[in-house]
């Protein structure tokens, strides 16, 4: 399984990520998900969210999740970009893509990855 992980303070370049997509001929499903900063946090209006990562551990924990995905589903590739620093309302903080032969495994594994990320990957947010 091909894996690409980027934790960055730069804006997420959706168009560039789409252009760099690679698929082999057996692949029938590409799922990608954008997590976007909402304008409210616990009922209060906010301007942005500041993300902080324990980068070395976050990379390690993401790779453990990718290892588990590889065991559970026949995935060709996973690419994930997570922002750190200040992300304004309506801007994406997370971009995840899974390429697989069929939509079932692509949807299931993408959902699983995001759920697990929120449980174990050391990234925190602070509304500003």
């Amino acid at each position: 399984m091909i894996r690409e992980l980027t934790i960055t303070a730069e804006q997420i370049d959706e168009a560039g990520l789409s252009r760099s997509r690679k698929l082999s001929k057996g692949m029938g499903a590409v799922i990608y998900f954008l997590g976007v900063v909402r304008g409210t946090e616990e009922g209060n209006a906010i301007e942005a969210i500041e993300y902080e990562a324990f980068q070395r551990m976050a990379e390690h924990q993401f790779n453990l999740l990718f290892d588990e995905m590889e065991k559970r589903w026949p995935i060709e590739s996973v690419r994930l970009v997570h922002r750190v620093g200040t992300v304004k309302v309506n801007e994406p903080s997370l971009w995840v893509e899974v390429v697989a032969p069929h939509r079932g495994e692509a949807f299931a594994s993408c959902q699983w990855l995001i759920d697990e990320m929120k449980r174990v990957v050391p990234i925190w947010k602070k509304p500003v």
């Binding site: 993300y51 324990f54 551990m57 997570h82 997370l94 050391p122 925190w124 947010k125 602070k126």
Partner: protein, 81 residues
């Protein structure tokens, strides 16, 4: 023995620092370290149930026996995405 401790997220505000060192007797556990830190940083004591602990880049339970030079991290529940 001596270990380093890093704090993340609002734990930095609770302790007033992002990194410290602590000396402990040989055979001490992560829980022993936490109790000692709770005395130094009383605001940390209230977070005991929700605190996540790591040594290096791995999560560890409170019974983990520390070694000289371990890099410990303490932080609140994670919130990525």
């Amino acid at each position: 023995m001596s270990v380093t401790v890093s704090f993340y997220s609002y734990f930095k505000e609770l302790t007033g620092c992002d990194r410290t060192t602590e000396s402990l007797p040989e055979g001490s556990t992560l829980n022993d370290l936490y109790q000692k830190l709770s005395v130094r940083f009383p605001k940390l004591a209230a977070m005991q149930k929700s605190t996540l602990m790591a040594v290096g880049v791995e999560y560890r339970e409170r019974g983990y026996i520390l070694k000289e030079g371990d890099e410990v991290s303490l932080f609140p529940p994670v919130q990525g995405g």
